[in-house]
Structure formats: C-alpha cells, structure tokens
C-alpha cells in the first residue's frame, strides 16, 4: 500500500518554492471592511438576505443558495452592512458584494470556538449533507463546486472510494500542507464524516512526498481511525488535478465528459474536509480559510487564517512587501493562478494563495517558432497535442480544435511551461475553450 504512486502520462517538475511550508498558520486579523461576493462558487449567485444598515455577527447567513448548484454565504465578521454594491473582482469584471464594516468580533451563538476535538459522529447521512449545505461549503481547492452536491451520490451510481486531496502540487502554496500538519486529526475525522454521508468505509488521504511532516502526522493519526488510509504520492505536477489523482491512486481513468463519481470516486480537498469537520462538529459555517501569502517579493511569507472578503491588499501589507516591488500579483498558484486586476479584490472561499512575484519571475519572453519537438505532447497529463491545438486556433479552425479534444484541457499549463519556443500554448487551449462556450 505504501509504495509511492503517480499518474502515468505527462506531468512536469517545476521548482517547488515552498518557502512558507515551515511557517505556522497565524490569524490575519480583521480588516476595517470586508467585501463578501455573493458568487464564490460554480453555479447561480446566492440571493441576498440582508439590507443596508443591518447588524450581522460572525456566521450570520447573509445570502441564501439559489437553486441546487449554489451555496449559502455567511458573514465573516461582526458589524454593519454598509453597502450592497458592484465592485471590481480579481479579474476586473464587476461582481456583486456585500460590504460589511467591522465592529468588534462577536460570533453567532452556537458556534463552538473551543479547541477540543470532537470525534463522535452522531448525525446520520442526510443530516450531515444538510449541515454541509447550511454551512455554505464549496470545493476549496479552487473550482468551488458546491460540496453538498458532490457528497450526494446519484441513485444510479455508487461511491466506492473517497479521496482526500492533500497533494497541493502548485509551487509556493503551502496552505493545505500547514492545515494537514496543524489540524491533522480534524481532517481525518472530517474524512470519516464524509464517508458516513456517502455510506462507504474507504477513504484515502493522498499527500505528496515533499510534505514529510504532514505524511508523518497524518499517518500516526490514521492508525486510530478505521477506514482512513494515507497514500504517499511521487511529486509531479499536476498531481492535484482531480482526474490525475484518481488515475494515480486507482489506476482508472475518468472518461472524457464524465465525472469521477461515474467510476465510483469522490475527491475532496483537505481544506474542504476540514471545513466539513468544523461545520458538523463545531457548528461553524464556512467564513474563513487558510491563504498562503508568498512569493519572492513578500518580506515574510505566511500562512494566514483569513476571513472571507478580506481585501488582498490587506494581506499583502500584513505579510510585508519588499521595497520597490513592481511585480505581478497572482490569486492562486503560479501555474494555474491568474494575475489580478484589482489589488483590493476580496479573498473568496476558493482563494488558496496570493503571490507577489518580482518581474524577473513573472517575465514572459517572446515566442519563437514551433520546432515540432513534441515536448508539450509529452508533458500534457490529459494526452492532448497542444501544438496542434495552437495551430488550429491560429487558423481559426474550431472544428479541428474540437477534433483534437481541446475541451478536455485542464488548463494546468504544463505545455506552456515545457515549451522551448515559449509559445503560450495554454492560452490557445483556453481560447479554444472560450470559443466552444460561445458556440453552445
């Protein structure tokens, strides 16, 4: 069981840069104002329940899920709702946010803030899913898919294995790593809770071998819990991709256009599992998360416990910026993350890191001609031919791009990373996907 596993095709080995992996999680503190977006997940935006002037506490429900594929949003601070407005999100497009002015730090009654670990699961499966829904939990690895939907197995399908994703293959990011080190037992209990909701007895926590501390601690704890195992994985990017991880662990591939549940797998991020534990055992809705603030232009790389809605600039100031920094600010990791347009864009449920990279790191060299070396084909974890997709998009031939399955691209960026001609191959695949969306 304990030989190291990895996915079989493609993959790259970027420099790790995990400069904040030994730094304990600390509280980021409270900003003067938080901006809580009503859409932090895949699906329809939540319906706003509060009005200007309303007093809210930490954990108060401020927006209600609109439909099945949606999620509740809770206040992350106590204070007064000052505005319901449209502000620039990290992409620069407007998004609706609830602005709350912080006054004190009063929690909703019922939230258990004691550090005691509760391991007795008294709720049944339906109750657990209902609690998860009420806590507004979404996939915290980045996609933001509502967790209650994922933990409800469709009638015609059968769950066989729960995979807890503790891979964190993106360089720089250490939020999941620290969470596993500091909250190991909670994560293991969280895995048991989700297992109960799914009605299965089989959970695997997958951890990259470059996190020996987390592996050791979680392995010690899983000895006391039946049905939860640890699987160490060989470090390779993008092992944290859902499909790649399933392939690495089970050897089975998720067919194109299908979901992991179709082959009996359910993958949850460790952050999500921890949030489930807190919701079920501590009655705490999802209003804070761990965010890595790192990068070579950050003075003190940190792992912060951040209230949702905190502006990025607040966290960057907290971690300290090196002098004369004119770098690139990225939400997420350096491989898949995006440069942000607005420095005051709020942290959402899916923000795993904020990176400030100096110009030397963020520099994009000019592209040269493709030499047909095939490195991108070898690197693609999905088995696509990025150079051919790029060519078809250059020629505006969407049918050819479709034939080359550009739709299956997971946007990991391995192709662009490995390209010796520095062709922005990922950009072409993204463009193809945008065009497909438009066509529909």
């Amino acid at each position: 069981m304990n030989n190291k596993k990895t996915f079989s095709i493609g993959g790259i080995h970027p420099d790790k840069h995990k400069i904040s992996s030994h730094i304990a999680i600390s509280d980021a503190g409270l900003p003067a104002e938080v901006f809580i977006p009503v859409k932090q997940h895949i699906g329809s935006p939540a319906k706003i329940l509060v009005q200007k002037g309303d007093k809210v506490k930490v954990g108060t429900l401020i927006a209600d899920a609109d439909g099945i594929i949606s999620a509740d949003v809770h206040s992350s601070v106590s204070g007064e709702v000052t505005k319901i407005e449209d502000i620039q999100s990290e992409t620069g497009y407007l998004e609706q946010v609830i602005t709350i002015r912080v006054e004190g730090d009063e929690f909703e009654p019922g939230i258990d803030r004691s550090p005691d670990i509760v391991s007795e699961i008294s709720q049944n499966a339906e109750e657990i899913i209902e609690i998860i829904r009420g806590a507004g939990i979404v996939g915290m690895g980045g996609a933001g898919f509502p967790t209650p939907v994922k933990t409800t197995v469709p009638e015609d399908k059968k769950a066989e294995i729960l995979i807890i994703n503790g891979i964190e293959c993106e360089p720089y990011l250490t939020a999941d790593d620290r969470l596993m080190v500091e909250k190991a037992e909670q994560i293991v209990i969280g895995a048991k809770i989700i297992n109960k909701a799914l009605g299965i007895q089989n959970a695997v926590i997958a951890i990259d071998e470059n996190k020996p501390q987390a592996v050791e601690i979680i392995r010690q704890i899983t000895k006391r819990y039946v049905g939860v195992n640890v699987q160490v994985c060989k470090t390779k990017y993008p092992q944290g991709g859902e499909r790649q991880l399933i392939q690495a662990l089970t050897g089975k591939e998720v067919p194109a256009g299908k979901h992991p549940i179709d082959i009996g797998c359910i993958v949850q991020n460790v952050g999500t599992v921890f949030a489930v534990y807190e919701a079920v055992m501590k009655h705490k809705p999802l209003f804070e998360r761990i965010v890595t603030v790192s990068g070579d232009d950050i003075l003190n790389p940190s792992n912060f416990r951040v209230r949702i809605g905190t502006p990025a600039s607040f966290l960057i100031n907290k971690a300290g910026l090196k002098e004369n920094s004119v770098g690139k600010v990225i939400f997420g990791g350096p491989m898949m993350g995006r440069a942000i347009v607005n420095m005051d864009a709020p942290v959402t449920k899916t923000t795993s890191g904020i990176l400030v990279l100096p110009e030397s790191e963020a520099y994009k060299p000019d592209e040269t001609s493709c030499i047909r070396c095939g490195k991108c084909v070898a690197a693609c974890p999905v088995g696509l031919q990025p150079y051919a997709i790029a060519r078809s998009i250059r020629e505006n031939d969407l049918n050819e791009a479709k034939r080359l399955s550009a739709r299956e691209c997971i946007e990991c960026g391995s192709c662009a990373y490995t390209c010796p001609a520095r062709i922005p191959l990922l950009d072409f695949c993204k463009l193809a996907k945008y065009e497909f969306k438009k066509r529909k």
């Binding site: 992409t91 620069g92 440069a339 922005p424 945008y434």
Partner: protein, 281 residues
C-alpha cells in the same frame, strides 16, 4: 532500337485514346444536369467565399440564386458584391432585384489609448478573445475595445487596421463589404453594420458600456454616461441600461451635427465633418 520507341508510343497512345473514349461516354451517360445559370451567376459573384450571405460559399449562393423563384430571390443578397452584382444576377434571371442600402461596419467604441488609458499590464497572448476571457482588459472597461485586433486578423478585405495613435481599429469604408466577420469575432460585440448614409454621413453612439455614468467615466473619458441630452435633440434616440442608442432611422444629415455637439463626452460620433477618419481624435 527505334521500333521499340515507336511501339511504345503506339501502345500508350491507343490506351490513352481508349480511355478518352470511355471517359467521354461515361461522362455523357452519367452527366449530372445542372442549371447553366449557376455557372453564369458564379462568374458574376466576387468569389470571396466569405460566407457573409449565409451560404457555404459563392458556388452555394449561386445555386440558391439559380433555383430561387421571384419571392425567395428577394431574400438573397451578396453583401460583398452589393447592389451592382445583385442587379446583374437579376437581369440574368429576368426578375427585378431587391435593392439594399449600402452598409458599412462601424466600431461602437471610442476607447482610444488617450480616452481609456491602460491601467494594468497584460502579458498574455495578444488576442482580444483571450484577454476578454481572463480579465477585463487593460483599460478596465468591461465593454470596451481590447485593442489587440482580432477583427483586423479576421477581415478578408483588408478593410480594418489598428490606428497607431489611437490603438483602436479603423474601418476603411471603401474596402468594407459589411460581411460581418468582425461583428462575429469581437468578444465585446463592438461592430455594428449600419447604412453608409448619404455622402457617408453617419451618426452613432461609439460606446457599449452599460455601467452607471460615474463608473463608466472612471475607465474612459469618452464613455456614454446616459445624460439624456441626445434624447432631447431627437426623440428617436433611446437610452436603455445607462446606454444611449441611435437607431439607423435617425437622419444623420438632419441631426448628426447636433447630436455630436450635444454629447458632453464625445461618445456620439458624426462622420459628416471628418469624412472617413472617424476615430482619429
């Protein structure tokens, strides 16, 4: 030696002759009868194969024309060839051609480098469609021109180019056939096919930003702020979603000058004064 050459020539020639006869007979026997009009019409068409007519190419359009009766023929139009070509085809068919007003593509954005200065640096692929997908664009306007020129690349008639000074594309109305390729490719849907107008006089709102005035002005000084002044000049001008729209029925000759002067931001462009250099400011 020479008899070998002669026999070779003889054998090959006879094979060729036999094959020719067979081919001739077969082609006669299995000939597909096609309306001779199709070839004639195809000869008239511009053969740009741009697909602007909605058909799969010029041959397809010619087929539709040849097979059309008088009623359906009036629904067919080749935007590239224009009235001239349609008239010729109509003469061939012996029907009257529907005459359409000359049209041209106009850019409904005046977000030049000066009006809508860059706020952030964009280092991705130089493509408007990608830039619009990953972020709001350099100027910050969610509906404005991204200034990478996807429209220039898609134009088959060389009617578009990016103006070096303003950064936004300029339509050359002598070359534009209003085929609509730019309309379809622009991720912000900034091009509109409008009547060329008498003496090339056109008036239109060069803005598609639907944000509230103050917010729109933050990113672009030439944004429409829905001040309603244009609606007072001409009743047909409508303002919806914080954005003014001048319908094509508004006479540019009559109202153009007044509308352009009434607009406090310069979002309304009247081509009557400046000729075709409409976007240079």
């Amino acid at each position: 030696m020479s008899h070998l050459i002669f026999s070779n020539i003889l054998v090959l020639s006879s094979i060729a002759l036999a094959a020719a006869v067979i081919l001739y007979l077969v082609s006669k026997k299995f000939a597909v009868e096609e309306n001779p009009l199709i070839d004639e019409i195809e000869g008239i068409l511009p053969n740009a194969n741009c697909g602007a007519c909605g058909k799969a190419g010029c041959r397809d359009f010619a087929k539709s024309c040849a097979n059309a009766d008088e009623a359906t023929f009036s629904g067919l139009f080749c935007p590239v060839g224009g009235n001239k070509v349609m008239k010729k085809i109509a003469e061939l068919k012996g029907v009257s051609a529907a005459q359409k007003e000359d049209t041209v593509a106009v850019l409904r954005c005046n977000g030049t480098c000066k009006n809508a200065p860059d706020k952030v640096e964009y280092s991705g692929m130089k493509s408007c469609r990608l830039a619009a997908g990953v972020s709001v664009g350099r100027s910050g306007c969610p509906d404005g021109c991204l200034r990478f020129g996807d429209c220039v690349n898609v134009c088959r008639f060389g009617a578009l180019h990016i103006d070096k000074n303003t950064g936004i594309p300029v339509v050359d109305e002598t070359k534009c056939t209003s085929c609509g390729a730019c309309v379809n490719i622009c991720p912000r849907k900034l091009f509109e096919i409008r009547p060329k107008g008498k003496d090339n006089k056109r008036v239109y709102v060069a803005c598609r930003n639907t944000q509230k005035g103050a917010m729109a002005r933050k990113n672009c000084s030439a944004a429409c702020i829905a001040c309603m002044k244009c609606t007072k000049v001409c009743e047909q001008v409508s303002v919806e979603n914080n954005l003014s729209y001048i319908p094509t029925s508004v006479s540019a000759e009559q109202y153009g000058q007044q509308l352009a002067e009434a607009c406090p931001t310069g979002a309304i462009i009247y081509t009557g004064n400046k000729g075709i250099k409409e976007n240079e400011q």
